[in-house]
Structure formats: C-alpha cells, structure tokens
C-alpha cells in the first residue's frame, strides 16, 4: 500500500508540475464552436482578437520577441511616431502585450505596461473600410516574419458583428495573405451528417 501511495502522489505531482497554466488573458473572448479537430498554433502567431464590442486587438506570440521588435520599429518609423525604447519595450518585452489603439494614440498607450491596462477602456484598432489601420499592421508583421512562418489567427467573440471581421479579412486580402485560421472551441460532429459518415467510413477524425 505504501508503494502504491508513493506512485499515486508521484504521478500527481508530475501532472501538476507539467500542467501549463492558462495565461490570464487581458481580454476575455468567448469563441464560437466548430467541428474542427486541428489544435490552434501557439508559436509564430499573429493574433487578431475581436471582442464583443467589435474592438480589434493585435498581439504577437510571446516567443517571437525579435519579430515584435521589428513590427513596432517599422510602425514607429512609417507613422513618424518616434516611440522611445521604453515605450517599445512595453510591447516587446512584456508577456501578453497587445495593441488596441489607433496610431495617433500609440505613444500614450505604450506608456503603460499590459498589466496596467487591465480594465481600462481602449478604442481598438480601426478596421472600417475608410480607415483600416490593420492593413499597415499586417504589412509590418508580414515583413517581420519574412523567411519564417507566420500564422494569422483570428479570435473573435460570439457577439462580435460581421463588419469587424470583414475589416480584418479585407486587411489580409490587401496584404495578399489569403490563408488564415479562426480559433474555435471543439465540438463533436453531429451524428448522421455527411462529415460524420465520412469519418466513420475512413475511421479517422480528420477534417478537410
């Protein structure tokens, strides 16, 4: 019995230690569900978040600090923002950093670290057809990730409206980025549908 107890707690501590904590997101987004089974990528990700109030945010996965630096440098130069190193560091070095303002408000936005921004109302990146700043952001990301792989990932809230998504989609098209992914919650395939029959026939759970 003693040995079994040892094994149980060894396993327990192993699982607790290896479990990854869900990073506390500054933004809470309820994603829609789909039957897709492919896990969303975590590295080399340019994540565009659309929250329930149709505000659009941009963030780059924390592992890609070099690309983050390139992106913020490019935007700072292209828009004549003259961002200081400290301001850039708030985007580059801090985990979970994101951009949620038009270019004009970027300097004051970057005076704060992501932790300080929790609970503060932000306008979001403009994506309407007349004034779509996402185009410049995607262009900057595209050149920063050149030579490597970039996953464009859109994470939208159930309650977000289509025009916000349309704006993001148009920004992709303008940059010739035709492939992107949409984050969803997995659900099982409804029984009796065509896909269900296909999966049964092939014995695999693959979609597409």
């Amino acid at each position: 019995m003693t040995a079994m107890c040892d094994v149980a707690f060894l396993l327990l501590s192993f699982f607790i230690l290896t479990a990854k904590f869900k990073p506390s997101d500054a933004l809470t987004v309820n994603t829609p569900s789909s039957v897709q089974t492919k896990i969303a990528p975590e590295k080399d990700v340019v994540l565009i978040t659309i929250d329930k109030d149709n505000k659009v945010y941009l963030s780059i996965s924390d592992g890609n600090k070099a690309q983050k630096q390139d992106v913020i440098d490019a935007i700072s130069t292209a828009q004549n923002l003259n961002l200081s190193d400290a301001q850039k560091a708030n985007f580059v070095k801090k985990a979970g950093s994101y951009i949620a303002v038009p270019f004009s408000q970027l300097p004051s936005f970057l005076n704060h670290s992501p932790d300080e921004l929790k609970g503060i109302a932000v306008p979001g990146i403009p994506v309407d057809s007349a004034h779509n700043e996402m185009v410049q952001w995607i262009a900057a990301c595209k050149s920063a990730f050149q030579g490597g792989h970039m996953y464009l990932v859109v994470k939208g809230d159930n309650a977000a409206k289509y025009p916000a998504f349309q704006g993001v989609k148009n920004a992709f098209i303008k940059n010739d980025e035709m492939k992107f992914q949409v984050v969803t919650n997995p659900v099982s395939v409804p029984v009796g549908t065509e896909l269900y029959k296909k999966n049964m026939a092939t014995g695999s759970k693959a979609v597409n």
């Binding site: 699982f15 977000a160 992914q181 296909k198």
Partner: protein, 179 residues
C-alpha cells in the same frame, strides 16, 4: 513508512521492577483513503488539462480576379445563396432570383443545403454565403462550419449584399416580426 518508533529509550531495562508496561498499540495508519484521494486528483487533473485546447478552422480566401475570362463561371441553377441576417436568422434562395427568398434558421439550414445538394450535379454545386452587417461573427463561423459538416466542396464568402437583397431581407423580417 507510516510508523513511529514507540519503544522507549535504549537505556531502560525492559520490564524492570515496579514498572507497569502498557499494552503496545499499533501506530500503522490505513493508507487506502489517501491512495484513493491521490488517484482521484490524478483523474481530475488529466480530465481538466486535455479537454479545453482551442482548435483552429483554416480559411482560404480566393484572390480577387478582375479579368472576366479568369473568373469562375457557375451555373445559376446550381447556386444556393445563403444570407445571414440579424438575430440568428438565415435567408436563402436558389439560382439567381432573390425574390424567392425564404427565411430559415441555423438548425434547419442543414436540410436546405443537403436537399439542394441532392438535386444538383456535384461538380456544379456552389454555395454563396453573404453575411449582412447585422450578422454576428458566431453566425459566420457557424455557417462555415456547416459547409464542413455537409461536405460542401465549393463555397464562397461574399461581402456584397445588394441593396435589393437587403430590402428583401428587411421585408421578410418585417413580415415575420424580427426586430
């Protein structure tokens, strides 16, 4: 492991004169509940860690083609147009006649798609998805997912809802009391 040394200090003589020896009690602890608890926790952690991984739906956008000769032609009779309205309403029509607009919802739209699919040549069948500005992001993802579920090979996500179509949707909404 779970025992204590209850024998006295080494120096005492056992059972010396005048020393009344108490009955020696076992200090072994029953470990069964602890093991149970351990495995219960393991099961709990395994179940909670693997379930909530988000998945990704891949979307490939078509390139805009200006030249008419490079555009894909579709047979009007093989087209099913699905428009996404407000309040989770779906409107559809077959072919190129928007006046045949019919309202439905996200549950019933599967039968509409499958019915049309059955009646059309597989090579020609195209579904055109037109979200209106009142449609939510969830609606768009749901209908794209529906394409996967119903194994529709060719579908297009189109932005332009013509004013004529918008007007028809509005009329249907008014008739059905959708606010």
């Amino acid at each position: 492991m779970a025992e204590m040394d209850t024998s006295g200090g080494g120096g005492h003589k056992k059972g010396g004169p005048g020393v009344k020896k108490g009955k020696k009690l076992s200090t072994r602890v029953d470990l069964t509940p602890m093991v149970d608890l351990g495995f219960l926790l393991i099961t709990f952690f395994i179940f909670t860690t693997t379930v909530s991984q988000p998945t990704a739906m891949k979307i490939f956008l078509p390139k805009d083609v200006d030249k008419p000769e490079e555009q894909n032609k579709v047979k009007a009779s093989a087209v099913l147009t699905i428009m996404l309205g407000k309040n989770d309403q779906v409107y559809y029509y077959e072919g190129d006649d928007p006046t045949k607009l019919q309202p439905t919802n996200y549950k019933a739209v599967r039968d509409v798609i499958l019915d049309k699919k059955r009646r059309t040549d597989t090579a020609d069948f195209v579904v055109v998805l037109k979200p209106t500005k009142d449609a939510s992001y969830k609606n768009v993802v749901n209908i794209l997912d529906e394409m996967t579920i119903d194994a529709v090979k060719r579908f297009a996500l189109v932005d332009l809802v013509s004013p004529y179509e918008a007007d028809l949707i509005k009329k249907t909404e008014d008739a059905n009391g959708v606010k």
